[in-house]
């Protein structure tokens, strides 16, 4: 069911779900541990994606000698 590489949107959506589940307190402890690990992985994934996108744009700007926006 799950794809190899979820898109940024998919990861973000799942992260929100995980946080909501954990905060509801209604999951058994063993499941909670799994969820927490999944949450950590998703958050890392999203951060990497965002950082990657930002640096690609900055590189393009430098490449064409554009000054950063105000």
């Amino acid at each position: 069911m799950a794809e190899q590489h979820p898109s940024y949107e998919q990861a973000r959506q799942r992260l929100i779900e995980v946080v909501q589940l954990l905060e509801s307190g209604s999951v058994p402890l063993s499941t909670a541990m799994e969820l927490w690990q999944e949450g950590e992985a998703l958050a890392r994934s999203c951060q990497e994606w965002l950082d990657g996108a930002r640096s690609r744009i900055e590189e393009t700007r430098e490449g064409i000698g554009e000054s950063p926006a105000e």
Partner: protein
Amino acid sequence: MPPLSSSPEQPQPLRAVLAATKGWVERLGSVWVSGQLIELKRRSGGVTHFLTLRDPLAEVSVQVTASTQVLDAAGPIAEGMEVVALVRPTVWSRNGSLSFECSDLRASGEGRLLAAIEQRKRMLQAEGLFDRQLKKPLPFLPAAIGLITGQDSAAERDVLEVATDRWPGVRFVTRYAVMQGQGCVEQVRDALAALDREASVDVIVIARGGGSVQDLLPFSDESLVRAVFACRTPVVSAIGHEPDTPILDLVADVRAATPTDAAKRVVPDAADERQRVRQAGTRVRDAMLRLLDREAHGLQAMRSRPVLADPTGALDVHATQLRDLRARATRAAAARVREEAGWVSHTISRVRALSPQATLQRGYAILSGSDGAAVESIAAVAEGDDLLAMIADGTLHARVTHVQRRKETDG
């Protein structure tokens, strides 16, 4: 007419002189004159109107009267036009004033030409040839531009130079034609048809420089105008200078004031476009970075929520519960043990109380036979039997030497 004789002693009466003058002048009769109509005072509701005709070469001008009928019959005329007029000089016999009466007025030469053009214009307009909705938009960047112009003309140079300056890669397909006089209409029409057939030509420019009404006449020709109307490719008219308006200007999809203006309309300016693309790129990048910022902040907020940032919270709860449970279990167990110990202790006391040891210690003995059964009656023994006697601190082996029944009266 014989001269009037007169002398200071025998003067002629004034009326006679006036009459004679009138006769002389009016003998000229009606004459067709050509001139420029420099003033036209048409009074509404009036019967007589006043014109001023001028001879441009001799700087002579004269006032002329004309009736409403004459003016209406003259056709489209306007101040500044060349006209011919049939005029008759008249002298008013009451005061000798001279005036010219016009009984026929027509546009002439250029004036006639302009009037004819005007008429044609109205006819074609009524047919709908100049309708706004029928005008085709010009392509933003044409694959090729068709150009109809005079060979080696200033118009050709202007169009080519300005267009190439704006968009260096521009491609022209040029068809030369004589741009005035004999053959102009046919050549321009043929060039138009050829360029319209050419698939790569996305827009056609017809360009020539300024000239007289006569020079620009072919561009008001009905067949040429209809050919442009029927053309599938959009046509730009760049004929003459700003004030000139041949009919081609009205039927074309775009009217350019000059050949230079036409060049500006058919190709975009490369420098402008590069600028716009650069700006668009900047805006896109700025927008993207703003979007990324928002997302990053959202993610940060998500990550700082306790369930992710400090998951031990949930664990602490369970650990505390576990500690409580163990404590309770321990307490419960200890309580049970105490309970049991109490019972055991109590029971031991009772047992001890029931034990025969105390009796034995008072000097009694428990006798049992060799079968181990306790001797409770003298009937169970006979003289000479071996008995065991259990006393407080040990066991005796005894033999019955004598049996004596107890009497009830014995203590």
